[in-house]
Amino acid sequence: MSTPAPGDLALPARESPTGSASGRRRWRLSGLGRPVLLLNLLGIFAFYAVWALATETGAVSPLFFPSPSMVAAEARSVAGTADLWMSVVASGRRVFLGFGLAALVAVPLGIVMGCWWPAKATIDPLISLLRPLPSITWIPLTMLWLGIGEGQKIAIVFMGSWIYILLYTVESTKRVDPLLIKAARNLGAGSFAVMREVVLPGSLPGILAGLKVSLAIAWSCVLSAEMVAAQTGLGALIWSAKDWSNMPLVLVGMICISATVLVADLIANWIEARLLPWERARRTH
């Protein structure tokens, strides 16, 4: 036996077919054997029950808060028209463009700031000044510059999300193991290669987590922008429904926002799993 075929193979790799991995996931879903999913459903049901009981019995006036059946009827009637779907598409498009642009600017900038202290030292004070400003404070200026068209909505989304993406990115670069940077340089990597090959992938899990949080913020930005000046979008839909005192439609709009952000989150999770295959390998062991 001249070549001891890797004698030290405690071999976790081959013994983990997908079966055990999905088994683990199911186990985790129920959280250490606790009936988490059951309680999730119970919580939703309890909320619905209180809402239905309070409104359908007339204890709460429908003018004050519409009942589930009124909301359902309104939803059925608007779901048949193009209005609702156009609103979802219009808002979604603004978020997609504004948020995408913010990510394209903030992620590379954050990586550079994390790797190169002069960049961080220069930009840090600017961030401190801009961060406390909610995105709606940008509405007057952006309207002056860009009117009330698409560009202005996208700018609001951009202004509201880029700083958070930047902060998350800078923070994530700090969590990259310095030993890995040392190892890369020892193997001949220059500064740019270290950023591309080590800092970016090493901080990617944190960056993606930050992007998910910022995505929710981007949605709230677009809605406030649409409430102030817009003919289309979910924000405008809710605002005009208010003007017509159509509270059921307001609630339909709110539910639509929740559902859209939930779907966006699911898509983000799916992309995350595709971008971080090594994290999946770690989790299944």
Partner: protein, 260 residues
């Protein structure tokens, strides 16, 4: 002839010069090309500090280090480091990890793949190229680190207690394989360990180091026949060597006890 790898009058103080700790005091060492040198000593003797200085990770406070007569200043890819904690890139597969050095020197996709395959096979991991490091055992990860280092084709391999975190059986297998790889590749190796048996199995020459302050207390040539393996430990000459090495270390230990 100038020596291949050398340290000349090297001292290292951590912290400021007044209240700092003297980690290494006036160390001089010459390593021949192709030689396998073990730095052996208890913790605190500065052996890892010396190794990190050869890699250019930390500069000496006094003295200088040279490779082929050229001073080592800054992180130097000519001195490849094998870390005790592997330091593999978790987001890269085994193949991508091993191909990292060739990629950094601009090798093409095809060439990188060929080089990676060759070294993956050399360390006995054929078939594991597409796995991520976290899917492998500690011993396998250390093999990948070794392959990654060799694939970058450094002139010197620096190894910082590479097998210390592994179980005893895995360690012996990897020691034997490293001995074979060293003979085949002819690379110069500086290997840090605190294990006398490991030093006796691996080294052409053992550099015994003592703590407080870190310094070299003895050079011991190791003439045990190669290739060495578990059987080597049964030779009478092995026992003699071990006693000799131990006598140097025991002397230091006694001196330390008296000082305390």
């Amino acid at each position: 002839m100038t020596s291949f790898l050398s340290a000349r009058g090297v001292s290292k103080t951590f912290g400021n010069s007044a209240s700092g700790v003297l980690a290494l005091s006036n160390v001089s060492l010459d390593v021949r090309e192709g030689e396998f040198v073990c730095l052996l000593g208890a913790s605190g003797c500065g052996k890892s500090t010396l190794l990190n200085m050869f890699a250019g990770f930390i500069p000496p406070s006094v003295g200088e280090l040279r490779l082929r007569g050229e001073p080592i200043s800054g992180i130097d890819p000519r001195c490849g480091m094998v870390f005790q904690s592997y330091a593999l890139f978790p987001w890269k597969t085994v193949r991508e990890n091993v191909a990292f050095g060739p990629k950094m020197r601009g090798a093409g996709r095809r060439e990188r793949r060929d080089i990676a395959e060759r070294f993956i096979e050399m360390v006995g991991l054929s078939g594991f190229g597409d796995h991520y490091p976290t899917e492998l055992s500690g011993g396998m990860q250390q093999r990948v680190t070794l392959a990654r280092c060799l694939a970058a084709d450094p002139e010197v391999l620096l190894m910082d207690e590479p097998f210390a975190a592994l179980d005893a059986m895995t360690r012996e297998i990897l020691q034997e394989e490293l001995g074979r790889i060293h003979m085949r590749s002819g690379k110069t190796v500086v290997f840090v360990t605190h294990n006398i048996d490991e030093a006796l199995i691996m080294a052409d020459r053992i550099v015994v180091m003592s703590p407080r302050p870190g310094r070299i207390s003895a050079f011991i040539g190791n003439e045990l026949p190669k290739p060495r393996n578990i059987d080597t430990q049964l030779l009478p000459s092995y026992a003699r060597m071990k006693r000799e090495v131990w006598s140097h270390i025991a002397g230091d230990m006694a001196a330390m006890r008296d000082n305390n």
